[in-house]
């Protein structure tokens, strides 16, 4: 057993276990704590743990975006609204549906057990994709040996960065894939910009509108 344990516990596995445990425990404490401000701070910790899991999955750009956009911008917005509406004190809202809490927790545990069994029996277990299929192997980075000719042009190497699963998550790889006209992501990207514009206009008009009493 010890030698199989040593083969099992590599550094990525250890990091995954640590940060998976961190993510689950901060998520659970985010739900359990009655104080909304603490809840928000636990959520920030959870987002950090998930960002490190993104790093383990070679999604470098998304890990940084997660920290900047989620843990930075969105959580500041949350805390700002908590302070603005003076909701920082623990919940003193009377619960009108007392039965809902145990039913929700029980259903959640049941769902977790069912999902785990389903995933374990139907999701295949395999190692992450490491390199390209045979057809594209000629232009891979490892085809370049130190003594080989330097005739391979730069653009082939850069295209290769966008295609390899290990380097796909770099900003270059993300940009190459997102703005590639041969892939279907360009149109949704434009739609997202439109969605953000609508959201900005909508939230300004919602939050800035004066009620009839305020006008009077």
């Amino acid at each position: 057993m010890p030698e199989s344990l040593a083969g099992f516990l590599s550094i990525p596995v250890l990091l995954f276990l640590i940060f998976a445990l961190g993510a689950v425990s901060t998520a659970v404490s985010c739900v359990l704590t009655p104080n909304p401000v603490r809840s928000a701070l636990f959520l920030v910790l959870n987002l950090f743990c998930v960002a490190i899991l993104y790093l383990l999955l070679n999604a470098y750009f998304l890990a940084v975006v997660q920290v900047i956009v989620y843990a930075g911008a969105i959580m500041v917005l949350f805390l700002f609204v908590i302070m603005l509406l003076n909701l920082g004190s623990p919940e003193r809202i009377p619960d009108q549906m007392k039965w809902q809490q145990p039913v929700a927790v029980g259903a959640g545990i049941l769902l977790a057990a069912m999902l785990t069994v389903t995933i374990a029996s139907s999701v295949p277990s395999f190692a992450p994709a490491t390199s390209l299929p045979q057809t594209a192997r000629r232009t891979t980075l490892d085809a370049r040996e130190p003594g080989a000719s330097q005739t391979m042009d730069n653009s082939a190497i850069l295209d290769d960065i966008a295609r390899r699963p290990e380097t796909m998550g770099t900003p270059y790889g993300i940009g190459k894939n997102l703005y590639n006209p041969d892939k279907p992501w360009l149109f949704p990207f434009e739609m997202v910009s439109f969605l953000l514009l609508v959201a900005v206009i909508g939230s300004v008009s919602l939050a800035g509108r004066q009620t009839s009493e305020e006008k009077a």
Partner: protein
């Protein structure tokens, strides 16, 4: 098709066993589903709409983790692209949702989800 998928290890519970020194895909998917369920239970249990929004963020984040894990293990860029869109939609949703909360608070000085029943039939 990805050769790794063809030789994959299907079967009840054996896919949860550790591979040699590599985190199996099933661990990431199990973690994502646990985080998602935590968020879903939080949405049901909490009475403060801001905390409910945070639990929705938790669920979106869990789905992002699953998308990125699938994309990485299959060598497909689609997972990361899709999670970028999920993040953008989450940002838009938070902006609009918090705007709605502020206007509800102005209307009735309380934002308990039990008391907001204007649209009840």
């Amino acid at each position: 098709m990805n050769p790794a998928v063809q030789n994959a290890n299907y079967g009840a519970l054996t896919s949860l066993m550790p591979l040699g020194g590599v985190v199996p895909l099933t661990w990431y998917i199990t973690l994502a589903s646990l985080l998602f369920i935590t968020g879903a239970v939080g949405v049901l249990v909490k009475r403060n709409p801001i905390v409910i929004f945070m639990c929705v963020e938790l669920m979106l984040n869990a789905s992002n983790l699953a998308l990125i894990a699938f994309g990485r293990y299959l060598g497909n860029s689609g997972g990361m692209m899709f999670s970028i869109f999920v993040m953008a939609v989450a940002a838009a949703e938070v902006a609009v949702g918090l705007g709605i909360l502020i206007s509800i608070f102005r209307l009735r000085d309380s934002i308990s989800v039990d008391e907001v029943n204007l649209m009840r039939g």
